[in-house]
Assembly symmetry: C2
Homo-oligomer: 513 residues x 2
C-alpha cells in the first residue's frame, strides 16, 4: 500500500495535466510527456483498483439502482471537450460502481476472476490495436493463433494437432460457425444456390443447453418449435437411445438431421453428455458431431477430469471458451474443426480488397476468409501469454483447484440442515445447484405453499448480497423447479474459506425469510 | 524521453521480479507489490512502444516472412511455467514485430491510428473484465451504452433519440442483426415456425459493398447467386431506378423483397448511396431499409459532410462503426434501430439462468436478450470516454481533417504525371483510388501489355514499403480494373506532410518498375 501511495505521489508531482485536454496528447507535437503522464495516472488508478479488488474487506459491488446511478455522476455526452482531469474523474467513478470481478467472493458468472498475466496481455493487445484478418496487419498474433489452436487440437486428441480453427467473439458465434460448416459439408451447393436448395434441416441437442444454442435456430435452421420437438432432456443430458429414436422420427417426417451438438458442461448443471455413444450414432447416420465445450472444454487440460470428455476426439468440431474456466479475460472463445480446408471453402468470398492473391508472403496465414466476420478482435494474446506464464500444468492446477472447491461445497451442504440439492449425485463440473430453506419454511407441510415461498428466497438473498456487497452467486428457476442457487467456481482467487463464507452469508441473509 | 528513462530506471530498482512466476502474483497472499511491479514493467514497455509508434523515424513495421518470424523467438507453448522475466521478453518481442497502427504513416486499413484516451479506456475495460449482458454485472457500462446509443440516434435524426440499438463485435454482425430484425418484422412467425414458414426472401444492395454483406446470404437468406442476379452496380452506387426495376423482377419471380442495404461509404470507393430516393422505394414496396454506414456513418458528426447521408433518418436500421473513422480502438460497432422493442421481441429466448424476471432492479437495463450473442464484450467505454474527452466538436474536427487530407491527396495527384484516377470526380469519403504508372510503362502503346505490367506495380511497391517499413497503403483489383492503390485516411496522426511523403515514397519505390 505504501508503495502504491509513493507511486501515486510521484505522479501527482507532475500534476500539470489537470488543465490539459485530449488535444495536448499524442499525436500533438511534444505530446510525449503529457501522454505518458496521463496514461500513468490512469494506470495508477487501475493498479489501486486491482489491489483493492482482491481484498476480501472490499465490497464486491457498490450497488445502486439504475435511476440512482444515473444521478451519481454526470454521464451525459457534451459538445465541448472535457479536461483530462475530468477524464480521470470519470475513470474513478466508473470503477467505483463497477463490479469487482477479480474479488475472491465473486461467483456470479461462468467467467470470474482476473488473471494478472492475462490482464497485462490485454493491455498490450489494446496498445497494438490491430485486427486479425491478415498476416500483414497482425503478423505475430496470427502466428500465435496458429500455434495455440494447434496445441488445443493436440489436447483434443486430433493426430499431430491437425485440423483448423478460429477464435470468435464468443460461444454463440463459435457454435454458429460450426453449424454453418456442418450444413456446408452436407450440402456444399448451399453456398451457391442458397437455403432453398437444401431440404428441411434439423439439429439435435440436449435441453439444458446454453443460451446460444437456443438462439441458433432463429438464425438459419428449421423452426425453433420443430427443434423443440426433438429436444432431448434428462437431467440435462443427451440420452443416446433417445437421440437415435428422435433421429429416426425426424427422418420419417422428411427432415434431414445434419447436426448434433453434444454439450460438455451444461450451463446450469455442468453436465457432460456421453460423447462416445453420441459419436457412434452420428457416424451411423452421417451427422456432424459438434461438442459445445464452451464451459466444460477446459477440463481437457486436467489429467484428473478429462475423462468426462472421452470421445471428444471423434467430434467434427468443438467450441471451447478459455474465457470461462481458464480465466482468460473476456472475450476468448475458440472453435476447433477436425477437417482441414473446410472453413476456407465454406466462407471464402475472395473480398479482393482484403485478400489479394499476389501478396509477397505465404497467404495461408491470412485467416480472414475463414469466418463470416471481416475484422476480428485480437483475442489470442491473452491466452497465449497466460499459457506461457502458467504452462499447461499451471492451467491444470487452476482447474483442478476449482473442482476441488466445488466438491468441498457439495460435501459441505449435501447433508446440512436447510439445504436441498437440485440434482442427485456429485456435480461433474463446478456447478453446485441447491436450495436454501430458511427456518421459517423448512417445516412447512403444505408442499405448494412451501414451494411458493421457496421460490422467493433466492432472489431476496441475492438482492441482499448485492446491497451488502459481500458476495455474489447466481440463481434461477428451471422447468418446474423453483428458484435455486447455481454456484459455479471459475475464480482462481477463491479458497475453502470463501466457500465457508458463502454458506454463512446465505444463512445470515436468509435467516428471517 | 528522459522522463521515460527515469521511470524505467525507477522500476528496475525493484527488479526482484525476474526470478518470480505467475504464482507469486495476486491472488497470492502478499502478491500486491509483486503484481504492481510486474504490471508497471509491462506498462513501461507499452509507454515506450506508444511514444516510438508516433515517431516518423520509426518503421511502421519490422516485417518478416511467416517462416522467418516463427524462428525469431520461441513462440511454442510449454508444459512448464515461464518466469515473469520471460513474460516481459515475450511482450517486447511481440511488440517488436507488431505493426505500429498508431504510426502517422500507417494507412493500410479503414481502422488506423491510436487514440490515447481510447487506449486508456480500453485498459480500464480490460481491468473491469466484465460482460454486457445484464445491469447486474456491468451497471455503469450498461448505462453508458444506453446514453451513447441515444446520442447516436439523435445524431441520426430520430426524434428525441428514440429507438433501440446495441454494440456488436463488428460490422458483419451488426448487419446480420439488422437482417434478422427485418425478417422478423415482416414474418414474426419465423421465430416459432422457422425458415420453412416464410417465402423465398431476397435482399438488395450495391455491388461494391463491404465484405460482410457478401457473406450474409450464406447465412440465412436465399442463395448468393440469386442475390448476384439482383445486385446493382454503377460506380459502387445503388441507382434508384435500377433498384425499383429489380424489385419488380424479383416479385415476378416469386421472391419476397424484404431488405435493402444502402451503403453509406463503400469500402473501396467510399461512395454514398442516395438514401432519400432509396427510402422512397423502400416505403413504396414496404421493404426494410438498412443503411450500412460502418465506414461512412461517422460523417454524421460533421456539419460539413453529413449531407452525404441525407435521408438516413428514414432508415429502419443503421450500422455505424466508431472503430473506423472515429479511431475508437478495435472493436466498436453499433447497430441503431428505429423501432423500439423490436430487438427484444425478435431475439428474446428468456434464458432464465441469465434474465431472471424477479430481480430487484429495473429489468429494461438487461440488454442480453436483444442479440444472438449471450456474452458481449464491453466496447462502449472507449467510445464514451473519447466522446467525453473530445466532445462532439472534437470528433467533428478529427473527421473533417481526414477528409481535408484526402482532398489534398486527390488534388495533388489528379493531374500529376504518372497517375490515373480509378473513378471520376472528387471522392465522397477519404478513399482515393489511383494507379501509379512508373516511367517504364507510362508510354507503352500496347494497351493489353500496359495493363499486364500495371497490374504488377502496386503489389511490388507495397511489398517494398513493408520491407523498408516506411509507410503502408492498401491495393487491390476490382472487376476489370487491374491492381490500384486504395488510399484511405482515418488516422488522426496524419498530416499534409505525410501525404507528400506517401507520394514521394510510391515514386521512389516504383521508379525502376
Amino acid at each position: 500500500k505504501n508503495l502504491l501511495q509513493n507511486m501515486n505521489h510521484k505522479c501527482r508531482c507532475f500534476c500539470f495535466i489537470y488543465f490539459y485536454f485530449f488535444a495536448d496528447l499524442l499525436p500533438a507535437s511534444d505530446g510525449d510527456i503529457k501522454t505518458m503522464t496521463f496514461l500513468q495516472e490512469v494506470v495508477d488508478i487501475l493498479l489501486a483498483y486491482i489491489v483493492e479488488s482482491f481484498d476480501r474487506e472490499t465490497k464486491v459491488i457498490d450497488f445502486h439502482y439504475p435511476n440512482e446511478l444515473l444521478q451519481m455522476n454526470n454521464w451525459e455526452l457534451q459538445d465541448e471537450p472535457a479536461t483530462l482531469d475530468d477524464i480521470l474523474i470519470s475513470c474513478r467513478a466508473t470503477l467505483k460502481y463497477a463490479i469487482k470481478t477479480a474479488h475472491p467472493r465473486y461467483f456470479n458468472q461462468l467467467s470470474t476472476g482476473l488473471d494478472m498475466v492475462g490482464l497485462a496481455a490485454d493491455w498490450l493487445t489494446s496498445t497494438a490495436n490491430t485486427n486479425m484478418f491478415t498476416y500483414e496487419v497482425a503478423p505475430v498474433f496470427v502466428l500465435l493463433e496458429y500455434v495455440t489452436l494447434k496445441k488445443m487440437r493436440e489436447i483434443i486428441g486430433w493426430s499431430d494437432g491437425r485440423g483448423d480453427g478460429i477464435f470468435s467473439p464468443g460461444g454463440a458465434i463459435s457454435n454458429m460457425y460450426a453449424m454453418l460448416l456442418a450444413r456446408f459439408k452436407m450440402f456444399p451447393e448451399v453456398k451457391e444456390k442458397g437455403m432453398s436448395s437444401v431440404p428441411r434441416l434439423v439439429a439435435f441437442t440436449s435441453e439444458h443447453v446454453a443460451f446460444s444454442c437456443c438462439h441458433l435456430p432463429l438464425l438459419f435452421l428449421t423452426s425453433s418449435s420443430e427443434l423443440n420437438d426433438v429436444f432431448l432432456f434428462c437431467s440435462g443430458k443427451l440420452i443416446p437411445a433417445d437421440l437415435e429414436r428422435r433421429i429416426l422420427e425426424a427422418k420419417q417426417k422428411g427432415f434431414v438431421p445434419f447436426f448434433v451438438s453434444a454439450t460438455a458442461g451444461t450451463t446450469v448443471y455442468g453436465a457432460f453428455d456421453p460423447l462416445i455413444a453420441i459419436s457412434d450414432i452420428c457416424r451411423k447416420y452421417n451427422i456432424w458431431m459438434h461438442v459445445d465445450g464452451a464451459w466444460g472444454g477446459s477440463l481437457l487440460m486436467s489429467r484428473r477430469h478429462r475423462w468426462k470428455l472421452d470421445g471428444v476426439e471423434r467430434a467434427n468440431s468443438v467450441t471451447w471458451n478459455p474465457h470461462k474456466m481458464m480465466s482468460v479475460p473476456l472475450q476468448c472463445s475458440a472453435l476447433l474443426v477436425r477437417e482441414e480446408g473446410l472453413m476456407q471453402n465454406c466462407n471464402q468470398m475472395h473480398a479482393c480488397y482484403l485478400f489479394q492473391q499476389d501478396k509477397h508472403y505465404d497467404l495461408s496465414y491470412d485467416t480472414g476468409d475463414k469466418a463470416l466476420q471481416c475484422g476480428r478482435h485480437v483475442d489470442i494474446f491473452k491466452l497465449w501469454l497466460m499459457w506461457r506464464a502458467k504452462g499447461t500444468i499451471g492451467f491444470e492446477a487452476q482447474i483442478d483447484k476449482c473442482l476441488e472447491l466445488s466438491e468441498y461445497l457439495y460435501n459441505k451442504i449435501k447433508d446440512r440442515e436447510g439445504y436441498e440439492m437440485v440434482f442427485d449425485g456429485k456435480p461433474q463440473h463446478t456447478n453446485v445447484c441447491f436450495w436454501y430453506l430458511p427456518p421459517g419454511i423448512r417445516y412447512m407441510e403444505d408442499k405448494e405453499e412451501k414451494k411458493k415461498h421457496l421460490h422467493k428466497v433466492a432472489p431476496v438473498i441475492k438482492a441482499r448480497m448485492m446491497e451488502y456487497g459481500t458476495t455474489m452467486v447466481s440463481y434461477q428457476p428451471q422447468g418446474d423447479k423453483v428458484n435455486f442457487f447455481r454456484m459455479v467456481i471459475s475464480n482462481p482467487a477463491a479458497t475453502f474459506e470463501d466457500i465457508d463464507f458463502l454458506i454463512e452469508e446465505i444463512e445470515r441473509l436468509g435467516q428471517d425469510l
